[in-house]
Structures are given as C-alpha cells and as structure tokens.
C-alpha cells in the first residue's frame, strides 16, 4: 500500500497513480469526482471511503484509527485477482471535523492513516505499507516563506516528516535562491525521505519503495551508516534555516548483540513516553534471538517487526551484522533520554 497525500485541490498526482492499471485507489468520492475518476468504481479499480475516525481507547488521540480504511482495504484486497498495489489517498481538504484553532483534522491526517494501516492486525495480514508520498506546491510554499507566514499546518508538517517521497510540483517557477530555501526547509522537516521533482510524468520513484518494513536505507544519508559509528547520534533541525521545524528526527545506533527482553522493554518505554508525539519509528535491531537483524517500524502506539531480508539497497550500505539502528521521528522528543535508554540496553550474554 502507498499512502498518497496530494496538495489541496491538486489532481495530477492522483490521476498519475490511477493511470497505472496495477493500482487500486482508495479515496473519497469528492477526490475521485474532482479527478474525473469516478468511472474507476464501475471497473473495480477504486473504492470510495468517507473518513470515519474513532479511538480504540475513548479519549485517547494516539489510539485514533480510520475505521473506513480498515474496511476499504479488506474489500480491496480480498479479491480473486487483487490489484498489485493499493493507493490510499488522504485528502488535505478541511472537513467538518477540523479543529478551527489548530487546523487539525483527524480525517485528513496522514499520520492517523499510517497508524491505522499498521495498528490493525487484519490490515497487517492482508497488505503492508510500502511508502508515504506527500505532494507540496512549491510556488505556494515559497510565497508563504517569502511573506513570513507559516509554511504549512502542523498536520502537513507531520505528514512531511514521515514521508518517504515529497513530490514537489511547480518547482520550475521558483528562483534558484527560493528553490534552495525550500529544499532547506524540507530538509529540516524530513530526514528520511527524498524530494522528487515533477519531471517524471508517471509514478516512477513514488512506488515500490518498500520503505517501512525494512531497515531505513536513507539512514546512511544522515551519516551514521558507517559501522565505525558506534555511539548514539542525534539529529535536530538546524535553527539557521528559514524555518524552525517543530518535529525532530533522532537517530540512534550502536554495535553489539542486544538482549531481546531489554530491547523490548526500551521500545515499550519509548512508545509509552511519547505516544501522541511519535510519528514514525523505524530501525533494525541485532538481538540474540535472531540470526538476522529484526526490523521494526510503526507510528504512535503501533509497532510491528519482522526479520530483515538480506538485500542490497540503492544507497549501497555496508551493514555490519552487529549494528543496530533506530530512527525516531516525532514531536517533543527527549533526545538525551532516548540516547541514554538505547545505550543502556544490555548486551546479550
């Protein structure tokens, strides 16, 4: 599954995804109508959803799930010849559920959609999250930047922070300096994904990412992929940039075969101490119970795991058998505590 968050009012990316016969769209009726894609319903290449958010624990925001997505994925996948890829379109349009004071609307929240796809065991059985693609209108953001306005809402910022690909549209309209500023602002928010320009007419580079179930390949870009780096490393947004992002990315790495119980206990603590603020958690852990590393991934309170599949990634990583990495993206992260906790995990005897 690919989660796609198009820019408000933009239909180009949705149409590009729809043009691929391997894709089945899960989208609202309004989105399909605006993109002229209602006809896909008749041929079974689209499923209409009406965002329906509820919390598994009453009153708990971090337990919010989109029930409509669970239902839609089940009906899309349990088919004789299911589509090769399911594209979940998360509208950025403000709905009636929007909090006027914060601009936040759980129905159009990418993190809520991602959490739903990972938290539900039935969805996890049927399909897996491949990547998150967020579209940004470069001209619009650049204008806001030049005017001194907030570049994006907190909800869009959270979506950008966990995106595997940021699809930048209209970037050819920017001046070179504006383009540099925008790139820097996106770098501040997102340290895992990659910005993709609009040169491609199809969806190459936006699908087949397998970015959530494996070790985070882009970790190398953060400069901690070297096996010689055995200490915990933290990445914080640079304050010298045009925008001071409120979301942090913390990267932890260490060498050694970890004790599984102590590792689980640490993970439990990380989730318990920042459930609402934990936007994305991903890593590869070398624990004594498995020959291969164990990949972990999740968001908010949902974390899944599976043994790592050996492969050579596009970054050409050199993976030491004894290296463990964890990337944490979230609000108000206690970097010192995270680092200390990770370092304190006992090594297996």
């Amino acid at each position: 599954m690919t989660v796609l968050a198009p820019e408000t009012g933009s239909t180009d990316l949705v149409q590009r995804f729809a043009a691929d016969p391997d894709n089945l769209l899960i989208a609202s009726g309004d989105t399909l109508a605006a993109a002229g894609l209602l006809g896909l319903l008749r041929v079974g290449r689209a499923v209409v959803v009406d965002p329906d958010v509820t919390s598994r624990t009453p009153g708990c925001e971090c337990c919010q799930v989109r029930v409509d997505l669970i239902d839609a994925v089940r009906h899309a996948v349990v088919r004789r010849s299911p589509a090769r890829r399911v594209v979940v379109v998360v509208d950025r349009a403000v709905s009636s559920g929007c909090d006027v004071s914060t601009g936040e609307d759980p129905a159009s929240d990418v993190v809520t959609a991602v959490h739903t796809l990972q938290a539900d065991s039935e969805v996890d059985r049927l399909a897996h999250l491949d990547g998150v693609v967020v579209e940004i209108d470069a001209a619009s953001v650049s204008t806001r930047m030049a005017s001194g306005f907030a570049l994006w809402s907190p909800q869009v910022e959270a979506a950008l922070a966990i995106a595997d690909r940021i699809a930048l549209t209209g970037s050819h309209l920017l001046t070179p300096s504006a383009s540099v500023s925008l790139t820097a602002a996106l770098d501040d928010v997102n340290r895992i994904g990659r910005v993709v320009g609009e040169s491609a007419s199809g969806i190459e580079g936006l699908v087949g990412l397998d970015a959530w179930r494996e070790a985070p390949l882009a970790i190398d870009a953060l400069g901690v992929g070297d096996a010689a780096t055995s200490r915990s490393v933290s990445e914080t947004p640079t304050s010298s940039r045009n925008v001071a992002a409120s979301i942090e990315t913390v990267v932890l790495s260490r060498v050694g075969i970890l004790d599984p119980d102590a590792t689980n206990a640490w993970l439990d603590r990380v989730i318990a101490e920042s459930p609402g603020g934990l936007l994305r958690l991903q890593g590869a852990l070398r624990v004594s119970t498995h020959d291969a590393r164990v990949c972990i991934w999740g968001s908010r309170s949902a974390v899944r795991s599976q043994p790592e599949t050996p492969r050579s990634g596009p970054f050409g990583l050199t993976r030491s058998e004894c290296e463990s990495f964890v990337v944490v993206v979230g609000h108000n992260l206690d970097r010192v505590a995270l680092s200390a906790g990770f370092e304190s995990i006992e090594v297996a005897s």
Binding site: L41, D50, R56, V67, D71, R79, R80, D120, E122
Partner: protein
Amino acid sequence: MTSTVGHVLTTAAIDWATELPDAIRVLDWSPQGRLLAIAANGSALVGCADRVTAPMTPDPRDAVWLGERALAVIDPVVGVVTAGFDHDQPLPFWGARRIGTHGGRTVIAGDGRLAALGHPGLDVVPEVIWTGVGVTHACVHIGGSMWAVGGTGGLAVVDVALGCLDTRLELPGVVAVAARGSVGRLAATDLAGSIHVLELRNLHDGVELTGYCDPVRLLSMSPDGRRIVAAADDELTTWDVGDDGIVADEPTAVVAHDATITALGASECGFLSTGDEDGVVHIWSPLLAAQPVASIRLDSEITALAWSRDGNRLALGAVSGELAVADVRAGLVA
C-alpha cells in the same frame, strides 16, 4: 438434524461446487433452502450452480433473500439493488453497509441511518431512522420489531415499528454484534478488543469481556444464548453464560486452526463452522469443544460461511470464487 448425545462421527461431504468470477463476499439461504451467493465483483449465484447473474453492483457489501423469489444487494455507493420485483431501479442509500429482513420488514443500515421498508416489494420512500452510530458495521434483529445496529459511534437499538431510536450506548467502535432475541441477550465487540454482553431488558448494565489484543470481528451466540463464541487469530474462545446472565470468569480457549480464522458461521442447531486463510473449514459441535468433528478444504482463503435454516447444509465461499455446498450429518455416537 436431530439432537444427539454426541457428534463425534459427524460427516461433512461436499454436495456440489462451482466457481464465481470473484471472491465470495456474502452467502444467504432462503427459508426453503435456496442459496444466494454474492461475489466481490457483484455477480450473484441465485438458487443453483448454473444460475449466475451479471454484476448487479460494483462493490456489494451485504445481501439477503426477500422471501423465496426476490433478493436485495446493497452497495455503499449505489444503494439497494433488488431482483425479483417489478421495478429494477436501485434505491439510493449512500453508505449502505448492512441489510436484514424479519417479519415482513427489511432494514438497511449505514452512515448513521437505518431505513425500514416493507416487503415483498420495496417502498419507494423508506422510513429513515437516525441511529447516530456513524459508519455501520453490524445490524441484527433482536426480537419483535427491534434491531441492534453497531458502528463507529457505538451501539443503537432501534424500534422499526415505532420508527424511533430506543437506546444508544457509546462504545469505542462496534465491530460485530450477535444476538438471541428469544433469550433477550446481545453481545457486541469493539475496536478496543472487548466483548460487551448485554441483557436486552437493561442495556446499560452489561459485562465487558477482555483479553483480546485486537478487535474481534467474528462473533456468534448459540441458539440458547448460553455460549458466546469469538474467533480471534487462530483461536476460538467460548464464554459460558448462566441462566441469570452471569458470564464465566474465564473462557474456554482452543487453538482451532493452523492459520488465521477468517470466517465463522453458526447453525440454528448449535453447530459452528470456522474457516481460515489456508482454505480449511472445521465444523464444531456444541458437545465437543476441544476438536472439530468434521473438516473440509477449499483451495483458498475462506471468506464466507452460511448454514441453511435446517442446519443440514453448509455453504462455503473462498477468495478464489470457489463456492461449495456441503451436506452435514450429525454423528450419533458420543
């Protein structure tokens, strides 16, 4: 099927099998034993193996016999599509998810509403009752003119004769509902993984059964209302309920399948059928909880199971479109 002292020698043999163009989504038996099967592409098998229709609707979610000669299929976008009546135009109902029929009334639930129609022959303008439960995931008849509707916003009990909402309970997203009106008992599962056992005479004073990691989507209640069976992952858990409505402290649990259970069907005779993602179907006797009394295998994940009203025939549907009907004969030896 006769009641016996045991069901060890129960047999289940496939009588006939066929294949529909897509995964089987819904199975329903008419009172006289005609089978209705709806495939994911909207095709319907009506009555016998060689009678398969063209797609009736693009995304069918539920279907039901309306008597012996008519049927209704619902679709969240199209609404209600009927066959067997004079008019063939769909009845618009945005978000329709569940349909049921009892006592000459047909109800359609979805999107926070419940529409009550008379049948045979569907009214052009149904009576619409607001349930307030949001997107609807369950709708069951609980006796008389009362229906229980479960959805995102909780559980609602609706009196379709009076056309009003009787009771509404705020539960964290109702996933499945099972009820026995004859004993006045209802069970509902929620997104938090709990099962709520409620007595219809006082819905506000129920028992919450916990211990499930994930929401329980497959739930049934025995005809006498004294056993509530939940299927979660590969396990079947049975909660015994006393005459006084007191639920046992601990359930009886059995690892029922080698793979995730994906379908559950309860017969009016007390037999239970479970199907898993490997295509294995087990039949369970109420007299022998520890192991299945018969098994059948289809070629792919089981998506639907339905017992005929007399409990002698079991319809099985799979994700490949394979559809089979098995004759089930209860064993006589304990």
